[in-house]
Point group: C2
Chain length 413, copies 2
């Protein structure tokens, strides 16, 4: 990478980007640089149209008839089948339902019940909060079960014969560090434990190969790289070999073998559908299904390659142009060891983030001191990266992040 | 009621209906009579517009900024506050989240944990299936807990000192029979049990007074009489006096006291928000919140009165014009003992329902033999009722529900 990487060079990369055409599928306000697709994916143009159709025609005109007429009832499985190729799974192993939190609860409870007396759920300190909270809540249901939260480096040693299930987020929401899915899965399985992978910061941006890693279970978010819209329903994966002997406690009617026979007794569906619970969120599913349709046209290898190159460029540009401003890279430099966002620690991260947003560069802040930039390969470009760092340099060089009051105080004291 | 109630008389009732203007707030296809709002509420015109705004402007242009800019994060509580007056609750006692199934799971688990060793969850046979299934799933988490499913008439006697929680649907989905909420709540509480009321077939159509009945907990559906759209998020109510000592096991980040401090340990929110779980479904909540706004203008007494009169008219017309066709009314005649739908048992209910739908009269069928008509007081009119029964009479008189094959077989055998 050139030490003086220019805007023209960034534009040249965009021009030769084989995924460039996908940017046109998204509504992106012209005045902003959006580097927060890892928190909320952008709106696909077709999703807006699809939602109008789902609301105004299917709900408004079709009314109750649309459950059959437009196969609303099949949406959880259809959306799951569209996610499957993005995560190395079979269509019959993925459904869309509820939230990531609820899905994680289902799988942890299932895993504990299948573990035959093993008494621990293991996870890492600093995992995404809802994963930790849900694990704590699930464990609390079982008198003989404990939650073990250990530092990342201690994970391998902490996998012992008492661990029922290891719960890990594939790509860390803050640092962007990526776990070695194959190695940790094998290590846990060697001790007789199951593993649940949270793919919220992976699916749709980097290569994920669940079955290639012999993964047991996974969950993930619909509103980040999958662009399903704010609060979109989430997905879950259960390897075929586990489906029949796992039973989530949230046995709602959509998980029943025959939900419309209205029987009094629960009989779980024979496959992945047993992990459904309540009535599918039709409108939200329509948005997600439409956005997932885009991925069917995307070469996953190109997507992962572009993600790596964008992150590389961002790191190089910040280190070149913002040297001396106090940024500490906390994301791994090795593309295989990270996801699709890049984070820097900085004492003034919050104020800097606000100053960037005020200038149209949208990244985000994570407490206490992390400035995070998501490089969404599907619709972001290399010019976006260049502009973001150009603005960051300006903000830092002019201390634009600093309030006039604070600057004055610095000078007079 | 006249024994020869005419179309003109129905129209006169509509003309004098003080709620008539609300019909114009809904998109109702002209060619149909919609008597299935108890299964899926109609589309409010403003909801369609609100969804376009939420999708195209808030998500599309605002992107991640809309969490604050448009207060997406406050939607569960805002929607809850709009539902509260419809069910006799305080705003601080209701939130919108997840599905009815998931919400019921949260409350049953909370109730069992708070019950201090009581070993039974009591419900009635023939309750809505997902309520039974969820109760079965929740009970299965506790080694010392059993699910008691008894016939309706045996409920009072079955409430004993071992019951942790009584789970009942206020208005039965099939028969429309309404439980005496005050009496059953008092009976359960006298034995030291809690009660969870499922208001799915009540809220938004008939009078519900949770606090007037000293109710403990309730759940309900967003997509029936509340018109939130297919698969809309659901609501839950927990009386203020119980909130601090109940803990659902699904401890997601939105139930945390400080979700955006990203701490590792779970600390429940001090009030009703502890019953939230994952990220709010923003788009779906926007639709529900908009439709709930309509109810703020509706006199609840007028709504309940109209519901009763519509159901009375439907019963009278069917008994007058469809006598001898084999319909058996299974809904109570006393308005105070029923909800807002009327059901008839008939051996050919399924075929009759299909014949009605083919002629633009949309009610629904519930296995094995129930024909169900929802009288939604907010947007249905008396002419709708008249037309539905007029069509039903024609279908029955001409045996239009019967297939030509079947008719032929009847004649030759």
């Amino acid at each position: 990478m050139s030490p003086h990487f220019t805007l023209d060079e960034a534009r040249a990369l965009d021009m030769h980007d084989p995924l460039r055409a996908f940017r046109e599928r998204f509504i992106l306000p012209e005045e902003i640089v959006y580097l927060d697709g890892n928190s909320l994916g952008a709106l696909p143009a077709r999703s807006a149209a699809r939602l109008r159709e789902a609301v105004e025609n299917e709900w408004g005109r079709g009314l109750i008839r649309s459950w059959n007429l437009h196969d609303w009832i099949g949406a959880p499985q259809r959306a799951g089948a569209l996610i499957a190729p993005l995560i190395g799974a079979k269509a019959s192993e993925v459904v869309v339902a509820d939230s990531t939190s609820q899905n994680l609860f289902k799988l942890i409870v299932s895993a504990i019940r299948a573990a035959g007396g093993r008494g621990a759920v293991l996870t890492e300190a600093g995992n995404f909060p809802t994963d930790l909270y849900i694990a704590e809540g699930a464990v609390g249901l079982f008198g003989d079960c404990t939650l073990k939260v250990v530092p990342t480096d201690d994970l391998p040693a902490a996998i012992d014969d008492d661990v029922a299930v290891l719960v890990l987020t594939h790509v860390h929401y803050k640092t962007g560090a990526r776990h070695d899915m194959a190695a940790l899965t094998a290590a846990a399985q060697a001790k007789g434990a199951l593993v649940i992978w949270d793919l919220s910061h992976s699916a749709g941006a980097i290569a994920v190969d669940l079955n290639g890693c012999n993964a047991d279970m996974a969950i993930g978010c619909g509103y980040k790289y999958l662009n399903g819209g704010p609060g979109a329903p989430a997905f879950l994966f259960v390897a075929e070999r586990h489906q029949l002997h796992l039973s989530p406690a949230t046995t709602g009617w959509m998980g029943h073998a025959a939900p419309f026979q209205f029987r009094d007794d629960y009989q779980p569906a024979p496959g992945i559908s047993r992990f459904l619970c309540g009535t599918p969120p039709v409108i939200a599913l329509a948005a997600l299904e439409e956005s997932l349709g885009i991925f069917a046209e995307v070469d996953q290898v190109l997507l992962a390659d572009k993600s790596a190159l964008m992150c590389d460029l961002l790191i190089a540009l910040v280190e070149e142009r913002c040297a001396g401003f106090g940024f500490e890279l906390i994301t791994p430099r090795n593309p295989a060891a990270r996801g699709s966002h890049v984070s820097f620690a900085h004492d003034e991260a919050h104020a800097i983030c606000q100053a960037l947003i005020a200038r149209g560069v949208i990244g985000d802040f994570r407490a206490p001191d992390v400035l995070r930039f998501g490089c969404t390969p599907l619709y972001c470009g290399f010019e976006d990266i260049w502009r973001a760092v150009d603005t960051l340099q300006m903000v830092m060089a002019t201390r634009a992040w600093d309030s006039p009051e604070h600057q004055l105080r610095q000078r007079v004291t």
